[in-house]
């Protein structure tokens, strides 16, 4: 079993094979380790790596693990390899929401030609107003939210049409 795990902005490859109670785990291209996770009670666990135990607090939700260890809080996510592949080949022609919020102003329509720096949208999340500007010259593909609509984190707010000169390079990105 091999997966990428996201921690902060970094991705790590983790492989784990079970042998009875223990797993053989490989992190990145490091040496194989013998590891297991022991439940103590509630959210208390022991992570045992090569016989050295570290107490952690741990809860999971779907692919997310929330861990408190070494007096700090962490959020890790096991990434679906299919999603990750799509993300890697992403053409950079979309803007996703950095945080949940509300669409305040939409300045453009699908098909409209824009120049770099032109304000496309204005979004607000709690105390922050963010103006999203065209990051290059080109045409607007889709605008997915109307003024007053709310959106979640990572929602695709606006897309730009692929530039013709680049069309060849991105032909398989759809």
């Amino acid at each position: 079993m091999k997966r990428e795990i996201k921690l902060g902005k970094a991705f790590y490859t983790v492989t784990a094979h079970r042998h009875g109670e223990n797993y053989t785990t490989i992190i990145g291209e490091n040496q194989a380790l013998s590891a297991r996770l022991e439940h103590v009670e509630g959210e208390d666990y022991q992570v045992i790596i090569n016989d050295a135990a570290t107490p952690v607090k741990l809860v999971t939700r779907g692919e997310q693990s929330f861990i408190k260890a070494f007096g700090r809080n962490f959020e890790l996510e096991v990434i679906d390899p299919v999603d990750r592949a799509a993300e890697k080949s992403g053409s950079g022609s979309v803007v996703t929401a950095p945080m949940p919020g509300i669409m305040v102003e939409v300045n453009v329509q699908p098909g409209q030609q824009v120049v770099e720096g032109e304000p496309l949208l204005c979004i607000e999340s709690m105390k922050l107003v963010i103006v999203i500007k065209a990051w290059r010259d080109g045409n607007i593909g889709t605008v997915n939210y109307a003024e007053g609509d709310t959106f979640d984190k990572n929602a695709v707010l606006v897309t730009m049409v692929e530039e013709e000169t680049e069309a060849g390079e991105h032909s398989c990105a759809g």
């Binding site: 983790v14 784990a16 380790l33 996770l37 949940p100 919020g101 105390k127």
Partner: protein
């Protein structure tokens, strides 16, 4: 003035709970209004009665004047406590409440009008010889406004006249080109959207200032007292994160001067009930009136901790016409108090708000934990991302910092990203401990306040725990298909 028998709490979250608890103590019945997203909140559970309110958004429900008045009539509530935010500083609402024969637990509409418009409040201060920073308003037209702004000189702070909470505030450090104009337009747009009023003004931005505010109480019998000051300089995005009382940055003489100035401002404004006068204090000790908040403040518990006075109880007593039961000399201050605001936000992502379910939510023992959430509740983007306030009190500042650190460490929140670790790094920072604080503290020490790099061993523990607790790794049937298996690669 009639005795208050039943109070409608026109708020939510921790402040609603806070108010309900004092009402219980005073043997006054409570009614809380709630939007469906708050149906499982502590306020709803602890209130004697509840009334559901509706709106296109949750916030809209809590500011619906008609719904709030209807809820009073329906339940027979004879007073409204607005808490902070929502309708708390809405003069129109206060007038409406009065005509309906309901007591508003707060100041008169006139005082809210006066202090609600920062341009008006500044004119009032000039007239009454209260200290203010050099500024210009935009009444004279854009061109002249920018001219005048350039005369004050950079750095400049552009603010919404009707503003609060950092909305519509912009700093301009370089007045070349159309920098000022651009910032004014942005501030003006934000102001219109947030406060329904596009008026802005510009004042000198003071580098490394301290934000110090004074809690005042004023009754219907002409008595005005202060409960001392609060140091609120630790801010991010103009919002307070850590507050303490007393301020570690002023001496006894300056303290008395600032506190008396605050009482003077409340007096000349014919202010009633509890209010807070905020000041900007320069490194030299010069101080200027910033604004007056005509309501209870988020950070009021630090004052309660050092004075032993329940400010909500005072608000209610004043509203029912009682005389203040403390004279200025009766107010004694004891020890030191710190409040840290636990926010659902990610300090590593420029403090972006985070949302999600509170899978584990457990306050530290031995702290005052002002909180409105239950374990299992979902933190949404509908409201401010503050989860709770951790308030600690001890004899010395040093001990108080230690207690605050323990409070952050022992409070367990899992399921949403919080600023708990960041708060600990601030509390642990040598400059904070030395009291070398100012409103730019978080920016100045940005690098030192970042989360430290993980050691390879720590990283191993975390990745192992995440992998071995994940369902996919535990499924013996699952074999990764070739395509998936081949995608992964080591990345830093």
């Amino acid at each position: 003035m009639a005795r208050i028998r039943k109070v409608l709490v026109a708020n939510r979250g921790e402040i609603a709970v806070r108010i309900i608890r004092t009402l219980k103590k005073m043997d006054i019945a409570s009614v809380v209004v709630y939007h469906a997203v708050d149906a499982h909140s502590i306020a709803v559970q602890e209130s004697d009665e509840t009334v559901e309110i509706f709106g296109p958004t949750p916030v809209a429900a809590y500011i619906d004047h008609d719904a709030l008045i209807d809820a009073c009539h329906k339940t027979g509530a004879d007073a409204i406590h607005p808490g902070f935010g929502f309708v708390s500083e809405n003069a129109e609402f206060v007038r409406r409440v009065k005509t309906e024969g309901i007591t508003f637990i707060g100041p008169e509409a006139e005082a809210i009008d006066l202090m609600g418009n920062k341009v008006g409040a500044r004119a009032f201060c000039i007239k009454n010889n209260h200290p203010i920073a050099p500024s210009v308003t935009d009444e004279c037209g854009m061109e002249q406004f920018i001219e005048c702004a350039k005369e004050i000189g950079t750095p400049l702070l552009i603010k919404a006249a009707a503003g609060g909470g950092g909305k519509g505030m912009h700093i301009v450090r370089d007045d070349s080109g159309n920098n000022i104009e651009t910032a004014v337009k942005l501030a003006s747009t934000e102001a219109l959207r947030s406060f329904g009023d596009s008026q802005v003004y510009v004042e000198r931005y003071i580098d490394n200032p301290r934000h110090i505010e004074v809690q005042v109480l004023a009754d219907h019998h002409g008595n005005v007292i202060h409960l001392g000051e609060r140091e609120c300089s630790i801010q991010r995005r103009f919002q307070k994160v850590i507050e303490e009382a007393p301020s570690p940055t002023i001496d006894a003489e300056l303290r008395e001067h600032i506190c008396n100035t605050a009482v003077g401002i409340a007096r000349s404004a014919d202010y009633l009930n509890a209010g807070t006068v905020e000041f900007i204090v320069e490194p030299s000790g010069e101080f200027y009136f910033l604004e007056m908040n005509t309501r209870i403040q988020v950070e009021h518990p630090v004052t309660e901790a050092v004075t032993g006075i329940d400010i909500v109880e005072q608000q209610i007593s004043i509203a029912q016409g009682e005389k203040l039961n403390h004279s200025q000399s009766d107010v004694k201050k004891n020890g030191h108090a710190i409040e840290v605001r636990l926010y659902a936000e990610d300090p590593e992502q420029d403090f972006a708000p985070s949302t999600g379910p509170l899978l584990v939510y457990r306050p530290a023992p031995d702290v005052r934990f002002d909180n409105g959430f239950n374990e299992g509740q979902i933190v949404t983007s509908a409201f401010d991302p503050m989860l709770a306030k951790i308030v600690v009190h001890a004899n010395s500042r040093e001990e108080t910092i230690k207690k605050a650190l323990e409070g952050c460490e022992q409070t367990l929140v899992m399921g949403v990203t919080t600023n708990a670790d960041f708060l600990k790094r601030v509390l642990n920072h040598p400059a904070f401990i030395a009291g070398k604080i100012h409103t730019g503290f978080i920016d100045e020490h940005k690098k030192a306040l970042l989360s430290p790099e993980l050691t390879p061993d720590e990283l191993q523990v975390l990745l192992t725990a995440a992998a071995l607790s994940n369902h996919a790794f535990n499924d013996p049937e699952f074999v990764a298909p070739e395509l998936h298996a081949s995608i992964s690669s080591w990345r830093n």
